[in-house]
């Protein structure tokens, strides 16, 4: 079937104005929130209902055409991009909240519902949808399910996987299956848990039942500022060690603070601070939360905080959070191009890893801004650069690889919430051997035997059983040295890093 007749067949299903074939239109879908990756899809289709999704998927199955599901395109790993031999299946029009059930504290939504709109709809019932990725004003619940999205408040309340009760999924061949159940405990294998975070590899969730939580009755939001990154990092561990679980515990460094303070989301963060911690404590009783806040403020001061401010009212709290949540978008103030990394390290390693990142940035002459979920040890180093400068992008990639390797060497992993997508494929062999990668692929084939849904993402295509991989064996080496050597193999020659060792 030619591109033209495919478009015609899709138009039959969804109507011609919801099929995009002109180059300029496809170009607007060539990137997601990590714009260093650019892939122009062959056709873009925007179905308007579950039935249209099924019909489109069946058509594509009959034709053997690969496709990529996409929500708002705010993902940060190149996961929602399609090549020109694939169809991009955009779910933004499936944006209905089907039910809010306050008695059972759950909601049923279509995948294109914007995260923050669900909480807004639940608010009159005193409820909220807890996972709150920074992009929550734009990203969709379907995308959150695909990426198992986190967010500041996941420290206490858990990530998306902890809040999805059941799913209606359209598989690659167009069959509809139900995973999980709205009410009871899961029985048998946790298929919902398997699907959440599958990065669009297992099919399309067309109905999503999620848990709603009561809006906390008492909230305290603290802003602590530090004159060194290291002390801020140490304070994080001290807070966690206190036994009090903050709802959120975020860190921003000076470069990030200044970008935010220059923007419309200026929150009053001290510009002269090397880092700030933004903490939230919540609970059912004012006095208890106030007492916890007092304890935490004391710990922060004892660990080097120059000052600890408590948000005076809901308005100030909102400003403090908006500044943090829009920080990523404010990076354009530093330079026109941006890559963001997403690694998780043990909290205790934060001070060392942050300093190592600083040294790598200095060595490559790059600006790195850190804004991240400190309580989870989930780092987001942002590297700002001007892609028009010849050779700079290569240096950025090199530095990114080194940062990632440092995180792995510190006992960390390569993604906390942004997913593998395209961007982190090259790091997968640093973490998993051939057997593990082959096992992941086998699981994927249960859902999608032809690997037609979101092809080429998540699991490196060269994975095979006999691959023995680069294992992190020597834990005695200094993390940076080991990081550098790991980075070399992955970055200098990505093909060799993901090819079987024996083949090199």
């Amino acid at each position: 079937m030619t591109g033209g007749s495919l478009a015609a067949a899709l138009s039959e299903i969804v109507g011609a104005r919801h099929v995009r074939t002109a180059l300029p239109e496809r170009v607007t879908y060539a990137r997601d929130g990590l714009p260093t990756h650019r892939h122009v899809p062959g056709v873009v289709v925007l179905p308007g209902s579950r039935d249209e999704v099924v019909a489109v998927v069946r058509l594509l199955a009959a034709l053997g055409v690969p496709f990529v599901p996409r929500g708002a395109g705010t993902g940060l790993s190149g996961g929602a991009l399609a090549d020109d031999d694939a169809v991009l299946l955009v779910l933004t029009r499936l944006n209905r909240i089907l039910a809010i059930d306050p008695k059972n504290r759950l909601a049923v939504v279509e995948p294109g519902v914007v995260n923050v709109r669900l909480s807004a709809a639940a608010a009159p019932h005193g409820l909220l949808y807890s996972p709150d990725p920074s992009s929550q004003t734009a990203c969709t619940i379907g995308g959150n399910v695909a990426e198992n999205s986190g967010g500041p408040h996941c420290l206490k309340y858990g990530v998306t996987a902890n809040h999805v009760l059941s799913l209606e999924v359209v598989l690659a061949d167009g069959r509809i299956v139900q995973l999980g159940s709205p009410g009871g405990e899961p029985w048998g294998p946790d298929l919902v848990g398997l699907f959440v975070g599958s990065e669009g590899n297992f099919g399309i969730a067309t109905r999503i039942s999620v848990r709603l939580l009561p809006v906390p009755r008492a909230i305290r939001t603290l802003l602590a500022d530090f004159s060194a990154l290291r002390t801020a990092g140490e304070a994080v561990s001290a807070v966690i060690a206190s036994g009090i679980v903050p709802a959120a515990l975020e860190m921003m460094d000076q470069s990030c603070i200044n970008a935010v303070e220059d923007s419309v989301y200026a929150a009053g963060y001290p510009r002269d601070a090397a880092a700030v911690l933004l903490l939230e404590l919540d609970g059912g009783r004012e006095e208890a939360v106030a007492a916890d806040a007092e304890t935490i403020a004391g710990i922060l001061r004892a660990h080097g905080a120059r000052s600890v401010l408590s948000a005076a009212d809901a308005k100030q709290r909102e400003r403090l959070w908006q500044g943090r949540k829009k920080a990523f978008g404010a990076m354009g103030r530093l330079s026109r191009d941006l890559v963001v990394q997403d690694a998780v390290v043990p909290r205790s390693a934060l001070p060392d890893v942050l300093e190592a990142i600083g040294r790598i940035a200095a060595a490559y002459g790059l600006t790195v801004s850190n804004v991240f979920h400190a309580g989870d040890g989930n780092l987001h180093p942002n590297i700002s650069f001007d892609g028009r400068v010849p050779g700079l992008k290569a240096r950025v990639d090199q530095a990114s690889g080194e940062i990632m390797a440092v995180c792995i060497a510190a006992g960390g992993t390569i993604t906390g919430e942004h997913g593998i997508g395209l961007d982190k494929l090259r790091y997968m062999p640093l973490l998993f051997d051939g057997d593990a990668l082959a096992a992941m692929r086998a699981v994927r084939r249960v859902f999608d035997p032809d690997e037609r849904v979101n092809p080429g993402k998540v699991v490196p295509v060269h994975a095979c059983r006999e691959w023995s991989g680069l294992r992190i064996a020597d834990r005695g080496l200094r993390i940076e040295e080991r990081g550098r050597s790991l980075a070399q193999s992955a970055i200098d020659n990505p093909q060799s890093a993901i090819a079987p060792r024996g083949a090199r």
Partner: protein, 423 residues
């Protein structure tokens, strides 16, 4: 003006997508090509030459942008979307010329010659017959009739007077009111405002007088050029700007404007006419009527017993960043109740000539606003821009929602009249 003509305003976009939900056309279609982020991709590709201005796929989605700039105030990186759009539209216009409908509308609406004067006079005659109001509906012509009907001055405010023959409020602020020394302000009349909304000009002059301004006329002024700039006719816009800059002189007397669209454009003169800093000096003098009034309090009037939904024009709120002053104006009217709808900040779909040249998208953008107005049932919808007044007026009438549309300054004027300030 830089040599990149405005495209440089797009450089700081890092593709985060935080603008998507602020875009009325993206909300209407869910299509990235109809979103600010998608359009920035198109504009960047136009600048680099990767996409040609001749490509209909480019024009379609840039034409479908309202230019409401709702994406700008939510952008963390401060992308100057409006500047980029103007540059891109100038490129498109260079290539394909101006569509005949746009050219005709510009000629009729923005002219200063006898032709336009006669046309406006005839239009007012048609309006006075009351026929347009009876023809109102959703088709192109019927909607246009609704728009015309919405411009009709109405004395209906009397029925809102809380006290017959009303007296000024006697709260402390009124008792303490001392007329400030009169200071001069120059009225910007514009084209559509002058042709169809001269009653708003009258209200502007009267209410400013009550608040210590002496409003002066500046005869040789012309249209602000906003509609030309939006249509990609930057040279024509620049020519009009030059005329206005010369007409309003070189001193620092404030230039008062009651049309949000004109105000936004006049404040852009610094960008449009960079030579010798004259544009910038002019732009610095431009003040929306609500800004001038809010600075003086404004003086409280007599009570009006009316429920008003305030709908901020995009070019006031997003383009000029003016949010509080109009509400302070309405706050000077005792008893009057202001209700704020959750989607008030969203565009009504008017957007200058957009409602005429992109009727389908314009109505799609208007629909959710009409639905929430129908649910809230205000007696008056107040908004400070001629296009929005006409769009909302036509939409409300077509949908059968019994609410009147008014410029906020008309309500203050009514309150002052009831208070006897004009006696």
């Amino acid at each position: 003006m830089t040599d990149r003509g405005g495209f440089e305003g797009l450089d700081s976009c890092v593709h985060c997508g935080f603008c998507l939900q602020a875009c009325p056309t993206f909300l209407a279609t869910g299509d990235e090509s109809d979103s600010p982020r998608g359009r920035i991709e198109l504009m960047r590709a136009l600048e680099t030459g990767e996409l040609a201005p001749a490509d209909p796929g480019v024009a379609l989605h840039l034409d479908r942008c309202l230019g409401c700039r709702g994406c700008e105030p939510v952008c963390p990186s401060g992308v100057r979307y409006g500047r980029g759009l103007e540059a891109a539209r100038a490129l498109l216009t260079e290539h394909r010329g101006v569509p005949p409908l746009v050219r005709a509308a510009l000629g009729v609406l923005t002219g200063t010659g006898d032709g336009s004067r006669i046309l406006y006079a005839l239009t007012r005659l048609v309006r006075a017959t009351g026929i347009p109001r009876r023809l109102v509906g959703w088709g192109r012509i019927r909607f246009a009739m609704g728009m015309l009907a919405a411009t009709k001055p109405q004395g209906g405010g009397r029925r809102w007077r809380a006290v017959k023959g009303g007296a000024p409020a006697t709260d402390a602020s009124t008792a303490l009111h001392r007329p400030p020394p009169p200071s001069p302000a120059l009225l910007f009349r514009g084209c559509v405002m002058d042709g169809l909304f001269s009653h708003v000009h009258d209200a502007t002059i009267r209410t400013l007088q009550v608040n210590g301004y002496e409003v002066r006329e500046v005869p040789p002024q012309v249209c602000c050029g906003a509609l030309h700039a939006h249509a990609g006719l930057r040279d024509e816009a620049r020519r009009l700007a030059g005329t206005n800059i010369a007409a309003f002189g070189d001193d620092d007397t404030p230039i008062v404007v009651n049309s949000a669209g004109c105000g936004a454009m006049l404040k852009e003169y610094g960008h449009l006419v960079a030579v010798g800093g004259r544009g910038e000096a002019f732009a610095a003098r431009v003040r929306d009527v609500s800004e001038l009034l809010a600075e003086r309090g404004p003086r409280p009037g007599a009570p009006l017993d009316v429920t008003v939904a305030y709908d901020p024009p995009c070019h006031l709120m997003h383009a000029q960043g003016i949010a509080g002053p109009p509400e302070r104006m309405l706050g000077a009217i005792p008893v009057l109740r202001v209700i704020t709808l959750p989607d008030a900040a969203q565009c009504c779909g008017s957007a200058g000539l957009f409602t005429l040249v992109e009727p389908a998208m314009s109505r799609a953008v208007l629909a959710p606003k009409l639905a929430s107005l129908a649910a809230a049932r205000p007696q008056v919808v107040a908004t400070g821009n001629p296009g929005c007044l006409m769009q909302l007026g036509a939409g409300l009438a077509a949908a059968g929602v019994p609410a009147a549309v008014r410029h906020p300054v008309e309500l203050l004027d009514e309150s002052y009249r009831a208070a006897g300030y004009y006696a």
